[in-house]
Symmetry: C2
């Protein structure tokens, strides 16, 4: 399992989460984590100064469906022992966004140079786990078939605010036949750390989506005549809340480059 | 449901959680919450100065089985809108313990006089919910039959520490036949906000308990010849961690006097 030498090329993605992190740390991949260490939970990253950590903690606790918190570091620590062996959060993600006063000011390969002793890292589960489970149970997922990014919408469902954090629940959409939508509901309900069961299905207007063909983020995907749109809470929700809060300083992962953890996905 | 007038005497305990809190607030009961508002989640209370709130939050996040966090207040706020209508955390619990420098310095009916603007309230689910469910499914619970306090033990299973908070996982014990132990495992697994499934069953020595007849807290209960002891993580775990941390100031509920919430138990 720990044979690092064979990892790195697309057809031999590492299956061990520790190896995956080492490969990412050494820059031996394009940084994207999809397909690495199948069966292990991958997570989104939010890093904040301690002065805002308590409010962000409350925001996640009050909104566990869009913000499934799986680990929180000690202040200033770069390790996350509850999530994996020898994690260095400054280097073990493929690429990072740096925000200053709410504005994206840089996209970097690691955050060693901007690291500070007052930072707290939050890791939130992402939807990769449940998409793996859907694939395993032969529920087709359209954007994966099409090789594009899942369409995302700012719904009129609102988060419960905490301090400067709030705003809409962002939802991702996967078109499915009704029988598949029912099976997908049952399957994803078993993955509370990956947003769990859908927050809505059917008529997009009921959650404030006016034009399903114009997602707010990601790519448009077609919906077949015998299909309905199925909506899950999305990890972009805390990213949007973070940007709206306009903190002096924050770090996140970049889209598609997650932290690979040693935790089982389900 | 909101007929307050009939509440208060032991044979007419309020079934509505809002009414239960009003009755407790007005001092019209002995303050004990057992049997009130069946089917609704009851919670343990820990109140801390904001300077220690982030570490206690991390402690709960890292130890969700003994410390199932169900709500956290804004700093200084006496409300918990996510847990119930019109909660005033200073008055809506039957009685409170006040700790100074880790020592119990008082037991009071309300905490209005010691309230401070820097306090944060944490509410953690308690085992009442799963005991209700066991009773509903005819799994006998010995200490309830005997009318005594569940026996509790300091195990050698350790919490994951956070800041000054740490120490052993305290477990409660219920003796059961093996078939009942299996059913109880299945039933309690559905109540993650009430400590979930057992952490151990069978030989007490395997979790460091030397004499099952000498609990560290609560009352001794007999174990029948065809029974095994079944152990669940216990809400005394965070209480013990709190006392060990020797904070300058903290407030908790007193044993048996919980916060009755508007949340469903399961």
């Amino acid at each position: 399992m720990n044979d690092i030498s064979r990892a790195g090329s697309p057809d031999t993605l590492p299956v061990d989460p520790y190896v995956a992190r080492q490969v990412i740390r050494r820059g031996e991949t394009d940084g994207r984590s999809a397909g690495m260490a199948p069966g292990f939970l991958q997570g989104n990253l939010v890093v904040l100064p301690e002065t805002h950590a308590l409010d962000f903690f409350r925001f996640c606790q009050r909104n566990p469906v869009p913000c499934p918190l799986v680990g929180v570091s000690d202040t200033g620590s770069t390790a996350l022992p509850s999530l994996g062996r020898d994690i260095d959060i400054r280097t073990d993600i493929g690429s990072y966004n740096i925000f200053r006063d709410g504005e994206l000011t840089g996209r970097v390969r690691d955050v060693c140079e901007v690291w500070r002793d007052d930072l707290v890292s939050f890791v939130l589960g992402c939807s990769y786990s449940f998409e793996e489970a859907l694939a395993r149970e032969q529920v087709p997922v359209r954007h994966i078939e099409l090789g594009c990014v899942v369409p995302m919408y700012y719904s009129n469902l609102m988060t419960v605010p905490a301090g400067p954090f709030g705003g809409p629940i962002v939802v991702s959409m996967r078109p499915m036949s009704v029988p598949d939508a029912i099976r997908a509901t049952e399957i994803t309900a078993r993955f509370p750390n990956a947003h769990g069961k859908p927050v809505h299905l059917g008529d997009p207007a009921l959650i404030g989506i006016r034009d399903i063909d114009r997602p707010d983020e990601g790519d448009r995907v077609p919906i077949g005549g015998d299909e309905i749109p199925v909506f899950w809470a999305c990890g972009v929700t805390p990213q949007l809340a973070l940007r709206s809060a306009r903190l002096p300083f924050a770090i996140t992962h970049t889209s598609g480059s997650m932290l690979v953890t040693d935790l089982p996905a389900g």
